[in-house]
Symmetry: C2
Subunit: 435 residues, 2 copies
C-alpha cells in the first residue's frame, strides 16, 4: 500500500529542480562528453599538496589540532576573518580610516551559496522584489524563486549591469509604490557568470548612489557576488562595489574559496552591514551553528603561509592559457561570416556565445540535440533569464573553460561547430519542406 | 546619520537569540570557569593523528585528491553513504531483506543540525505542530520557533518519551481536528540530550505504531535524533526506531560525526523516507549544493580503514571514566539528605540534576549567581522546556561531562556544592527576614 502523502511546506512546494540537474544528467549519461557547461574548476591545478601541508601543520600541533577539531563559532574563525578583512583592504587600496569595517563584519559560510541563501532567507518574504542581471547566475535565480521573491531584471552590456536602465526601473518602482518591496540588487561584478563581463568603475559608484537615493524609507541592499575577482588574467583589478560604501550600510560582499582555491573546501565568506550581521548569524545558528572549523583553520594557514597567493598566481596562468585556447578555437571554427559572436573575458571561467537570431540553443533545440550527438555540452543561455522582464533570448549559450583541458577545449569547440553545421542543415531542410 | 532601517523577513523576525549564547557569554567572561554546561567534546581524545593520516592518504593520491577537492553532489559521497547504510544494518541486526533501504536514502549534511533545519524547512509552515520531549534539546526548540512551528511536548521518564501520554495527545489532536497540522515528533532516543535517558525497546515499537495509526490522511513523521548512539558505556545497544519502519515511510534517522569523531569535521547524515529525500535535496541544493566533499572523503577513509571504530572504542573508555568521575563526585557532595537527585546515563554526555522543589536554577537564580561566583557553569533546566504544554520546572539542571577533565569534573561538582550551600543560606536568610 502506498504511504499516505507527506504535507510539504509552501517554501518546499515553491522549490523546483534547478536546470543544473538536467545538465548533470546529460554528463552522467554521456561518459565521453566534453563539458563546456560545468562550472567545475580545473582538476590539474587543485592544491592537493598545499592542503595536505596545512592539515599536517595544524593537526600535528597539539593545541591547534584541538582547536580545529572542536566546535568553532557560528560567525567563524576570528584570525581568518581578520586576514580576509586585511586582504580586502589591500585589494581595494583602502586604509582602516577609509571605511568602517572590522573583522566582526565578516562571516564564514559553507561556500558563498550558503551566504546567498541566508541573505535571501533573512530579507525576503514571498512577494518581495529582487533585481538581478539579465542574464544572471541561474542557480541563485532558482533560490530566489524558492524563497518566493518576484524577480525583476536589468540587462548586462559590455560594461556589466546597465545602471541607467536600473535607474529607470527604480524610478518606476517609486511611482508604482513598489519600491518598499525591493530588498536587494544582485550583481556578479567581476567576469560575470554567465557572460564574463565586468562592471565598469563608474557604474560601481553609480550603483551605490542609486540604492542610497532610493533608500529613503527603508534600505535597499546591493549583493555583490565577487566569486571570480581573484581570477583575473588581463588588465588591472577594479575596486569592489563595497569600497564605495564607506559607512558599511548598503553593500553585502560575497566571496568564495571554491573558485580560487578548491570547491572541496566548501568555504565562502561575506562582509555585511553591521545591522544585517546579527539576523544572519541567528539564522545561521539554526542552520548549522558554524561551518566546518577544520576547513577554516586550513584556509587560515594557507593564507598566512603565502601558499594561497602562490596558488592563485598559478591558477591565473593556467586559466589564462585555457581562455586563450577556447577563444582561439572559437575564432578558428566560427568565422565572422557565421554571425556567431562571443565575449573575451578578462578573467573568470565563462565565455558567452551569441548565435544568429533564430538559432535556438535550448535543451530541446536542434543545436542541443546535435551537440549531444557530438558529445559536447553547453549551458543554454535561456537558463540564465527569468522571463519576468521581457522576452527571453533563445540563441545564446554559456561556455566554461573551467574543467576541460586545453586539448578538450579545442576538441569541444570543433564538435560544437559540427553540431552548429548539422543544426543549420536540419533547419534548411525543414525550410525547404515548408516551401 | 543612522541608516534607514532594513526590512527583515517574517522568519528572520521570529528568529531569536538561542539561550546557548548566554552560556557562551558566561564562559567567555570567566576564563577560570569550569563548564559543566558546554556540549563540546573531550579535547584530549580528538582524532588528530587519524584525520591527518586520512588527509595524507587522500591528498597524496592524485585521482582521489582531485575527486575530494572538486565539487561533490548535493546528496553526498556515494561510497560513504553506502558504508553508513551497511553500518546501520549491522548495528540494527538487519539484512537487506528486512527493510527497504538503499544508499540513495542517505544524505550527508553539514552536521546533523543542518539536517534538522532542512527537515523543518521542508515540512513546516507557520502554525504547524511539532511534538518534542519535555525536556528536549534546546537548540532545536529555538529552530522550530524560528520556522513558526507550534510546539507541543510530552514528558520523558526513566524509559524516555512517555508514549502513553503521547497516545493521549494524539487522540486529543484527532478530536480537535488539529492532527492534520502535526508534521513530526522529535525524539532524541539514545542517552537523551538533556536527561541522559534512553527510549526503551517496547516504546520504540509503540512509537512507530502510533504515528502509523494517526497517519490516515497524511503522514506524521518521527525524527529520530541518534546523535549519541555510538557513545554507549554500559549495557547492550538497542535497535533504532528506524528499524521498526521496514517500508521506510515514517522515520527520519539523524546522526552526526561531531560527537563520536570530531565537531570540526562538521558532518552529519540522515536516512529519509524516499518521498522526503527529493524535497530535502532540492532545498539543500539551494542552501549549499552539497556539504564539504573533502570532509566526506576523510570520513569515508576513516570508516573504511577501521580508524573510526578504534577511535570510538577509545572514546567510550574515556567518557565512561568521566561519567563515573562526575557521578562519584555528585554522590560525594550531595548526600541523600540533600534531596538532590540525578540520572546515571548508560552513554552520551549528559547527567540531569533535580534539586528539591523551590531551589531555582535559572539564569538569574541565587544558585546560578553563586555558581558563577564559584566559577562553575551548568545549563538551567528551564532552557529545555518550551512552556507551551504546562508549567516549566525551575529546579533542574543539565551537567555535561563532555569537555571537562576528570579532575575538573570533581572540582566542578565541589564548586557546585558550595554554590548550592550558599544559595541555601541566602534563601534561609531571606526566609528569616520575611518571618
Amino acid at each position: 500500500m502506498p504511504p499516505t502523502p507527506l504535507h510539504l511546506s509552501s517554501r518546499s512546494r515553491r522549490t523546483t529542480e534547478q536546470p543544473i540537474s538536467w545538465l548533470i544528467q546529460q554528463a552522467v549519461e554521456n561518459r565521453d562528453l566534453i563539458s563546456l557547461a560545468a562550472g567545475l574548476v580545473d582538476e590539474e591545478t587543485l592544491p592537493a599538496a598545499e592542503v595536505v601541508q596545512a592539515c599536517e601543520a595544524i593537526l600535528r600541533d597539539g593545541p591547534r589540532a584541538r582547536a580545529a577539531l572542536q566546535y568553532g563559532t557560528t560567525q567563524g574563525l576570528a584570525s581568518l576573518r581578520q586576514q580576509l578583512l586585511e586582504r580586502l583592504r589591500a585589494a581595494d587600496g583602502l586604509t582602516p580610516a577609509d571605511h568602517k569595517l572590522a573583522a566582526s563584519d565578516v562571516v564564514l559560510t559553507t561556500g558563498s551559496q550558503q551566504l546567498l541563501y541566508l541573505l535571501g532567507e533573512t530579507l525576503i518574504d514571498p512577494g518581495d522584489l529582487v533585481i538581478v542581471e539579465a542574464p544572471t547566475y541561474f542557480v541563485f535565480q532558482g533560490t530566489l524563486r524558492s524563497l518566493g521573491a518576484r524577480i525583476l531584471s536589468v540587462p548586462v552590456d559590455h560594461d556589466g549591469l546597465d545602471v541607467e536602465v536600473l535607474a529607470e526601473l527604480l524610478d518606476r518602482l517609486e511611482r508604482t509604490g513598489e519600491i518598499h518591496r525591493l530588498r536587494f540588487i544582485y550583481v556578479c561584478d567581476y567576469f560575470q557568470n554567465p557572460t564574463g563581463r565586468t562592471l565598469s568603475l563608474p557604474r560601481r559608484q553609480r550603483l551605490v548612489e542609486l540604492v542610497e537615493r532610493h533608500s529613503r524609507r527603508q534600505r535597499i541592499l546591493i549583493v555583490e557576488d565577487a566569486a571570480y575577482r581573484e581570477l583575473r588574467y588581463d588588465g588591472p583589478d577594479l575596486p569592489s562595489i563595497k569600497s564605495f560604501d564607506p559607512e558599511n550600510q548598503y553593500v553585502v560582499l560575497a566571496q568564495t574559496f571554491s573558485k580560487p582555491c578548491a570547491p572541496g573546501l566548501k568555504t565562502g565568506f561575506g562582509v555585511l552591514p553591521r545591522d544585517l550581521m546579527e539576523p544572519v548569524l541567528l539564522l545561521k545558528g539554526n542552520h548549522d551553528f558554524g561551518s566546518s572549523n577544520l576547513l577554516q583553520h586550513v584556509l587560515d594557514d594557507l593564507l598566512a603561509s603565502g601558499a594561497y597567493d602562490r596558488h592563485v598566481a598559478r591558477l591565473r596562468r593556467a586559466y589564462r592559457r585555457k581562455r586563450d585556447a577556447l577563444t582561439a578555437a572559437l575564432a578558428e571554427h566560427f568565422p565572422a561570416s557565421s554571425g556567431i559572436r562571443w565575449t573575451r573575458p578578462d578573467g573568470g571561467l565563462y565565455v558567452w556565445l551569441t548565435f544568429p537570431e533564430g538559432t535556438e540553443t535550448g535543451p530541446s533545440s536542434a543545436l542541443m540535440r546535435a551537440a549531444l550527438r557530438e558529445n559536447v555540452l553547453y549551458v543554454p543561455g535561456e537558463f540564465c533569464y527569468d522571463g519576468s522582464s521581457g522576452p527571453v533570448p533563445r540563441h545564446e549559450a554559456r561556455l566554461s573553460f573551467g574543467v576541460a583541458s586545453e586539448e578538450q577545449l579545442r576538441e569541444g569547440v570543433a564538435r560544437l561547430a559540427r553540431a552548429a553545421a548539422a543544426a543549420r542543415a536540419e533547419r534548411s531542410e525543414l525550410a525547404a519542406i515548408e516551401l
